[in-house]
Amino acid sequence: MKERIEICLSGSGGQGLILAGIILAEAAGIYDGKEAVQSQSYGPEARGGASRSEVVISNNTIDYPKVIKSDILLALTQTACDKYVKNLNKDGILVADSTLVTEVPNISNKIYLFPIAETAQKKFGTKLVTNIISLGIIVGLTEVVSQEAIKKAVCFRVPVKAKEVNEKALLLGFDIAKDLKTKK
């Protein structure tokens, strides 16, 4: 794996992208013992508006804390996809919600599409876990952090009463990743 991995989680405010970034950084930094930085960019709105969370993971000290070229891009809205796909590394991967991102960019990168939010609603009765399913997919596809680490990080950061549903959502994400991989 590369010395420095840059991940961009993008979509709109309220989709839980910032929390997803925190969980990913915690998995890498605390439970996998690497260096990790999480930062974010969002508008003044409480909900809606563009939102992105950036995570940099490295075996060494991290100087520049933001994404220069993303190795992993998650896009949960069309706007976010159109905007950040330009910044995708040539060997980077795109994970997108197939219901929310309907115009798939014409790029040579590996693209993984799945109706993440819709599945969250169907399986768990809430779109709130879209972010955690997405994390499961990303980790399942890339092993950017260990599955053990991401499990611990999810349990540590989500509210106690929501622990079970989030754990299940993460495992579902792992399974979706397996299917997506075999399809390729």
Binding site: A25, I30, Q38, S39, Q40, S41, P44, D63, Y64
Partner: protein, 384 residues
């Protein structure tokens, strides 16, 4: 892994959380403030944690009152903190001056966002660097520190309290939205491993106490209100007793002492770090989150065979004049990248005294400067 975690107390902390942790380690017991992005998590953490250690948290009606409450609490003997952003920092200026003239230790955090006015609530800026120096009127000194990592936020918050107590002065901690909101791995030091400085108390009985008579180091011992030492505090320039004076000798001595107690201790106060400067012909001078972009630029430039180094400023005010002057004698060019259109570059230019070229590189669109554009600026200047 779990053992390591327990032994070392490593956490993923947000910059603002690290500021609160640092303040607690330094012995903060009072926080007054008014919430504002991107500083609010400092207040939130203080609200959660201060009551548990017998401290006090109060949300005031605005930032003017917050600053006043911080001054009052400090005079009563508590280490005091307030945190805000640009719009609130404007309101604090009046009472900041009151704290300076009365030599009240306190720490004021400004998590900088885009301005002027309410500007860009959720986006970073370094537009308040000169405000930190000259925001409040009068010919006053100030100490201002600018961390560039979450870990440095923790350690410099402790430093800020220590300087404020040691030199009896407000200290401004300048964050920016990037590092205030960013989360990073931090090793929280054990209390026994950190130096905590407390203000000097009077050694004389109340009837002999002259509240503004300095010791040899220029700093007067400070009695807590409520401990039997009755004294007068005023925004007017005052004599040793704290009473207003129009005696020109006393006035002159007072203003000079305010400056000297900082200026004579710049060796203690000025903190900076050098990266790859030994053989450098081009130097970057940067601070805050931009220093991290500059650090990466140095590596990229070295890969391209350019002798570039970085002077990272952690103390902004007083400005590290001597260090920059020495640097200007060594290098041919200094570039100062900052998220404004030229503030600290002016100080760098002044300190360089014409010994090398000093050029600004500013970005003001609410995004952090990236390493590639600084490298681009270096090449642009080389080709000139």
């Amino acid at each position: 892994m779990n053992n390591l975690k327990k032994k070392k107390n490593i956490k993923l902390l947000q910059g603002n959380e690290a500021c609160a942790e640092g303040a607690l380690l330094a012995g903060v017991k009072f926080f007054a403030g008014y919430p504002i992005t991107p500083s609010s998590e400092i207040a939130e953490n203080m609200a959660r944690k201060l009551p548990k250690i017998g401290g006090k948290f109060i949300q005031m009606e605005d930032e003017i009152a917050s600053m006043a409450a911080v001054i009052g609490a400090s005079i009563a003997g508590l280490k005091s903190l307030t945190a805000t952003s640009g719009p609130g920092m404007c309101l604090k200026q009046e009472n900041l001056g009151f704290a300076i003239i009365n030599e009240i230790p306190c720490v004021v955090v400004n998590a900088q966002r885009g301005g002027p006015s309410t500007g860009l609530p959720t986006k970073p800026s370094q537009g308040d660097m000169m405000q930190a120096r000259w925001g409040t009127h009068g010919d006053h000194p100030i100490i201002a520190l600018a961390p560039s990592t979450v870990n440095e936020i923790l350690t410099l918050t402790i430093k800020a309290f220590n300087f404020s107590e040691k030199y009896r002065t407000p200290v401004i901690l300048l964050l920016d939205e990037v590092i205030a909101h960013m989360r990073e791995k931090v090793e929280i030091p054990a209390p026994e491993n950190i130096e905590v400085i407390n203000r000097k108390k009077p050694t004389v009985p109340p009837e002999e106490y002259l509240p503004f008579k300095p010791d040899e180091d220029g700093v007067p011992p400070m009695a807590n209100f409520g401990e039997g030492y009755r004294y007068h505090i005023t925004g007017l320039i005052h004599n040793y007793k704290g009473l207003p004076t129009s005696n020109s000798q006393e006035i002159d001595a007072f203003i000079r002492r305010l400056h000297n107690k900082i200026q004579k201790n710049i060796k203690d106060i000025i903190i900076y770090e050098k990266y790859s400067l030994d053989d450098a012909k081009i130097a970057l001078i940067a601070y805050g989150s931009v220093a991290r972009a500059a650090e990466r630029t140095v590596k990229l430039a070295r890969e391209e065979g350019l002798k570039v180094g970085l002077l990272k400023l952690l103390t902004i005010w007083p400005f590290p004049f001597e260090e920059v002057n020495r640097l200007a004698q060594q290098v041919d060019l200094i570039i100062v990248p900052e998220m404004n259109l030229g503030q600290i570059v002016l100080e760098a230019e002044r300190a360089a005294q014409g010994k090398c070229r000093v050029v600004p590189y500013g970005r003001v669109d609410g995004e952090l400067i990236n390493p590639i554009e600084i490298l681009g600026k270096i090449w642009e200047e080389i080709r000139k």
